[in-house]
Amino acid sequence: MTLYAIAIHGGALTMKPGELSEEEAAFQRVGLGKALHAGWLILNRGGTALDAVEAAVRSLEDNPHFNAGRGSSLTRQGEAEMDAAIMDGRTLQAGAVTGVRYVQHPIGLARAVLERSPHAFLAGDGALEFALACGLPLAAPSYFQTDKTRQQWLALAQQESNQLAGHD
């Protein structure tokens, strides 16, 4: 029998069991199953490990219940600034991006760096310009935000504002 396997993790904003509602946990289980299946199906059909990991991560980036792509945490300025990396164990070729805004699938951009650039790591505006040059899909800032991330950002901003209350 031919061997193949896939494992995934799906981090989200809530890290403490008490803060994770049953409803949210159920959404996350469904999301994990969907992402696992996306990668597994590629492997089952004889596809590459590189395609499988990208497909699984893309699925999680599309899912607002996880902290990547849509549903990303917000910076102090209220923006989604995303990072991603992909590596091929056969060739040790790799692609990575950091501080990426507007790119719908940061993992797709990392894959483009691996395959279509002479570099291994692109940051910020350079990564964004490379995404534009590759014709990768972009999205407005609001696409990446969810009610939950907006509320958490507002709470943080309020906390910071309160801390500044005694200063001129």
């Binding site: 590459t48 990991v53 945490s73 990072d83």
Partner: protein, 136 residues
């Protein structure tokens, strides 16, 4: 942070990791996820690893590469390599850490020190495993 490790039918490993960072992070902050060897590493001669947790801690420990190095040079089984990396410099590298890893023999290791680690794996045609809480 989300991530995946895979072994294909040709015996090749790969890893992918993607993150939105941490809530309220400083503009320009970089964690472990996009740093090769920090939160992400794969080599057919050892294993594929994706990390999640406190990015600065994982980055300072170069923990993804640490797992691969323990497998490659010390000959540790994958799960033991992940456990060793989890405890590496425990006094200096305190924080939340989680690893998913896969070796060329199709062995999956998932190690973490948090109460919540959303995770899943499937080996060949076997039934998928999906879990969130530590005790599942």
């Amino acid at each position: 942070t989300v991530g995946a490790v895979a072994l294909d039918q040709a015996g090749n490993l790969a890893v992918a990791t993607s993150t939105g960072g941490i809530e309220g992070q400083a503009k320009g902050r970089v964690g472990d996820s996009p740093v090769l060897g920090g939160g992400t590493y794969a080599s057919n001669d050892s294993c594929a690893v994706s990390c999640t947790g406190d990015g600065e801690v994982i980055l300072r420990g170069a923990l993804a590469h640490e797992v691969c190095a323990l497998v490659k040079y010390q000959g540790l089984p994958l799960a033991e390599a992940c456990q060793a990396a989890l405890r590496l410099h425990d006094d200096k590298l305190k924080g939340d850490k989680g690893f998913i890893a896969l070796d060329p023999q199709g062995r999956v290791a998932i190690e973490f020190n948090t109460n919540v680690m959303r995770r899943a794996y499937r080996v060949g045609e076997a039934a998928p495993y999906i879990a969130i809480y530590q005790d599942e």
